[in-house]
Symmetry: C2
Subunit: 234 residues, 2 copies
């Protein structure tokens, strides 16, 4: 019995085009493309299931079996996809960080002409969505028994590295003139500050934090841009 529970609203949708063999009348490349897509879908579904469970109780009290059944998938599949519980938790935190990265990338694309505005936009939307996030609330309420705090703090080196690399790449992409060094530096600072503001919010709320960050980093951005323009002219 595997406890057929559920699926409230869930996001999960296990239905998949069952015709795996046939190339769906499209180009052949889709075959490998399908594989990858299916794999990503699987990962996302599992991560989503964990997310929903985390809204109810801390990570330490959630079993891998629950995650698997929440995703409508066997436990074995979960282990095949993410080696261990620890690795799964790591992947989860990274995926949540993905929202942050996505916010920043969207902001960059929306303000290709004005990096300072992009910064404001990025931090604002991220901090606001993080503030509404029940997961973040649970993390903040964690007194150490929750089990996920270290991942965001003492063991967050992988997340910081990954997120800042992604953001730096986006910056270089959106603002090709900016030096790679500057982008990397700004990206890492942004990530560190974002984590800091999530774990201990600014007393004045998110817009205060955003305004502060812009005021603080604005001069650096201005200088970077000025250097970029000079470099181009040269």
């Amino acid at each position: 019995m595997t406890e057929s529970a559920t699926s409230t609203d869930g996001a999960t949708s296990t239905d998949r085009a069952t015709s795996t063999d046939r190339a769906t009348s499209a180009d052949r490349a889709t075959s490998t493309g399908y594989r990858r897509a299916a794999r990503l879908l699987l990962r996302d579904t599992l991560l989503d299931a964990a997310r929903e469970l985390l809204g109810q109780r801390p990570w330490a009290q959630i079993t891998m079996a629950e995650v698997a059944s929440g995703a409508g998938v066997s436990r074995q599949t979960l282990y095949n996809e993410f080696g261990s519980r620890e690795q799964f938790a790591q992947a989860f935190v990274i995926r949540e960080g993905e929202r942050f990265v996505a916010d920043v990338e969207r902001a960059i694309d929306a303000h290709l002409d004005d990096p300072a505005s992009a910064l404001a936009d990025a931090l604002q939307s991220f901090l606001e969505s993080a503030g509404r996030d029940p997961l973040v609330a649970m993390l903040l309420a964690d007194d150490g028994t929750g089990g996920m705090l270290p991942l965001l703090t003492t063991q967050s080196a992988p997340i910081v590295g990954w997120a800042s690399a992604r953001i730096a790449a986006s910056m270089c992409n959106g603002w090709p003139a900016v030096a790679e060094d500057d982008a990397q530096l700004l990206a890492e600072a942004l990530v560190r500050l974002a984590i800091s503001y999530v774990t201990v919010p600014a007393p004045g709320g998110t817009q205060s934090a955003t305004a502060d960050a812009v005021r603080l980093l604005g001069p650096f951005i201005d200088r970077a841009i000025r250097r970029a323009i000079l470099g181009q002219a040269h």
Copy 2:
């Protein structure tokens, strides 16, 4: 300023002004001065005892009785001085943060002419001493069972507030021309970045972190100084 640097291992005195002493007479002042000094000595001794114990095992496994006897003092005295275990832990973290503040203040005083150098000096010496600190190492190794991680992360709002206020005051003192807003902003960013760099070190080591911070915040400082000079001229 107002910092009586101690010659020995590092019992920096936290001076709390709160002079409630209504002047009764001159000779009385000596007595009150002694009182205060004795009180501070007591606090420091207790905190030092805790520090030594923390070098051996995590906070969760240290009892108040051990701290008291380590300081050669009765348990009751400990409770009289710091209300509860939680408050003691808080005070301890703040006292450790005192080193950070002291480093920054010293750096400010040593570079009254050049804030950027002061920033570099401050962060460099702090990160280096923190890197050598066995306590910090223990905190970083903490998997959540240690019991002190939340104080430095999710519950670090008091520390951030206190440290940045102190540093901002020192900045305003050392560089009177700088706007209070700018000092406050820079101080808070410095504190947040310092905490971030302690919990997840920069891959390139402390000097890399310092160089990064200087490069990042340098433009802001330059602009603040430029504004300060203009303000003076006006």
